[in-house]
């Protein structure tokens, strides 16, 4: 069986085939795949027995559920007020310069996807960003280059 299909089946077993399980199931698939594909949504709809359109409508409500393929590492840089005030744009430019991608894009090697996000809750240590679930704060262009270099090294090791 397709690994995502069996993952979704397992998740449905674990969380129960109820509407309340929809978000946990979607998030677990996103955790694995980084995004929710059309295929995954159809399978979730089938397993939980809810209309596919509703799965789509629900998924697209949540900013952290991507519906298009993304890189292995999703960079979400906070654009809300304090981070903006504290140099978010400089950090963003440094990332764009380093990865050669613009906002919303994924590097050709499918490692990084770059996005902006709303308040991450680290205003006292602005600017902040998340790389997947990990948070980095008090960013500077230098610091962010170091952080991303670290991720590139992990990738090379793998």
């Amino acid at each position: 069986m397709n690994p995502i299909r069996s993952l979704i089946r397992e998740l449905a077993e674990k969380h129960g085939r109820r509407r309340e399980s929809l978000l946990p199931i979607m998030l677990a698939v996103v955790e694995r795949e980084k995004y929710l594909s059309e295929y995954s949504m159809v399978e979730i709809a089938r397993e939980v027995d809810i209309p596919a359109a509703e799965v789509y409508g629900t998924a697209t409500f949540y900013s952290f559920i991507e519906t298009k393929p993304t890189g292995k590492y999703i960079i979400r840089i906070c654009k809300t007020i304090t981070c903006s005030m504290k140099g978010k744009n400089l950090v963003l430019f440094a990332i764009q310069d380093m990865l050669k991608i613009k906002l919303g894009e994924t590097t050709p090697d499918k490692r990084f996807t770059l996005m902006e996000t709303n308040c991450l809750g680290w205003c006292h240590k602005a600017p902040a960003m998340m790389v997947n679930n990990d948070v980095y704060t008090e960013l500077t262009p230098e610091k962010v280059r170091d952080i991303l270099s670290g991720y590139m090294k992990i990738n090379e090791l793998n």
Partner: protein
């Protein structure tokens, strides 16, 4: 409303005497009604921003007749400039869990949930460990109450209590019509108590020390302490527990960088107070902005004279435009109009008088939007536009 003379730091929330087991076991030996009375007499109000009396909320849920009831801890802390709940959940999670369990005891709920925002996913593992340990203790003392973490996934509006419940039910996080209220028809249509993380910790304080100790702090209508998330142009950003009722003047004296031009109280959905009004403004629950008292979820953002208030407003409005759930007209279309409108005025495409039209629009949004999000956009918009009109125009 009275204003406390000086800024008073308190240390209730983060003091970790590790006595939650004692607080839990002794509380559940008391009569639920006594606990409710204690809570009501403390005059604790919700710390998420709306300020509903917590004791009354618990009482309503306790009186609701139903086989199942739920307790939800709202940890969907998304208001720009707020980060206190994250700190509570990472430093003193047991207090939150204990408070939820006591609330379960009082209301008859056997299940609790912590709705944790997706941005705080890194907290999940540690929090789950705390829950496991907590549940172990509950089992030991034969107290039946389960707590489950429910992960959010990037939606500010899910901090609105009914939107949060919709989200937990596997739907789009769209606020419901009220009435009915959650204490009658909440999660899965069952009576539900939903409280902010900080509110729950305060109840812990009250159950531990008694209502009086809490009540004696603060001022009339705004009792006790509050966590403040301080950020922006300040030499000491961070989280501080302060007695309610302080004047903004004292606050800025303590936290400002000497050049504070304005303070945004209550995040993007709160009010911007310009320097000339600092001494008249107190932080509490009652009164109007001009009258002058500011309710707050605890976000305090300081701006010094290098900041453009136009940019600040532009940033807020972009936030609201994206984070509105989109279901109701005034909020969905209103937020877009406000953002496009100030841009047009700034670029000279619309006359300065268009700001008047937008101000009237925010009045309509305040009157007619379905939930607090759309209703409160007017707060920051009008307080910024009215106080810094010269920065808005071409």
């Amino acid at each position: 409303m009275a204003i406390a003379n000086q800024l008073k730091r308190v240390d209730f929330i983060f003091n970790n005497e590790n006595d939650w087991e004692k607080v839990l076991s002794s509380s559940i030996k008391k009569k639920p009604q006594d606990l409710i009375n204690e809570l009501i007499s403390s005059e604790l109000k919700g710390r998420g921003g709306a300020g509903f009396p917590t004791g009354i909320k618990w009482k309503l849920a306790a009186e609701a007749k139903n086989d199942s009831k739920y307790i939800i801890c709202n940890a969907d802390e998304g208001e720009p400039g707020t980060f206190k709940d994250r700190e509570i959940l990472s430093k003193v999670p047991y207090k939150v869990l204990t408070a939820m369990a006591i609330c379960g005891y009082i209301t008859g709920a056997k299940e609790g949930f912590i709705y944790l925002r997706g941005e705080y996913k890194f907290l999940q593992t540690e929090l789950q460990k705390a829950i496991d340990e907590f549940q172990y203790y509950c089992k030991e003392i034969k107290f039946d109450f389960s707590i489950t973490i429910f992960m959010g996934s990037g939606a500010y509006i899910c901090g609105e209590e009914t939107a949060l419940m919709e989200s937990m039910e596997g739907k789009r996080g769209e606020p419901r019509n009220k009435p009915p209220f959650p204490t009658q028809n909440g999660y899965l249509d069952k009576p539900t108590v939903i409280n902010n993380v900080e509110t729950l910790v305060h109840t812990f304080t009250i159950f531990k020390y008694g209502a009086k100790k809490f009540y004696d702090l603060g001022v009339q209508y705004s009792r006790g302490t509050k966590l403040f998330s301080v950020s922006g142009d300040t030499p000491k950003p961070g989280i501080y527990e302060l007695e309610l009722g302080m004047s903004l003047q004292d606050f800025v004296y303590e936290f400002g960088d000497g050049d504070t031009k304005a303070v945004q109280v209550g995040g993007a959905s709160g009010f911007l107070v310009p320097r000339k009004k600092f001494k008249d403004a107190a932080i509490g629950f009652k009164g109007k902005l001009t009258g002058i008292s500011l309710p707050t979820g605890g976000s305090m953002m300081l701006f010094n004279s290098s900041r453009s208030m136009y940019n600040v407003l532009d940033n807020y409005l972009e936030f609201f435009r994206e984070e509105s759930c989109g279901q109701c007209t005034p909020c969905r279309v209103g937020c877009q109009q406000l953002l496009l409108g100030i841009k047009a005025v700034k670029r000279g495409e619309k006359p300065a008088s268009y700001l008047e039209k937008l101000l009237r629009l925010t009045e309509t949004m305040q009157l007619t939007a379905k939930c607090g999000l759309g209703q409160s956009v007017a707060n920051s918009f009008s307080s910024i536009v009215e106080n810094f009109q010269e920065e808005m125009i071409y």
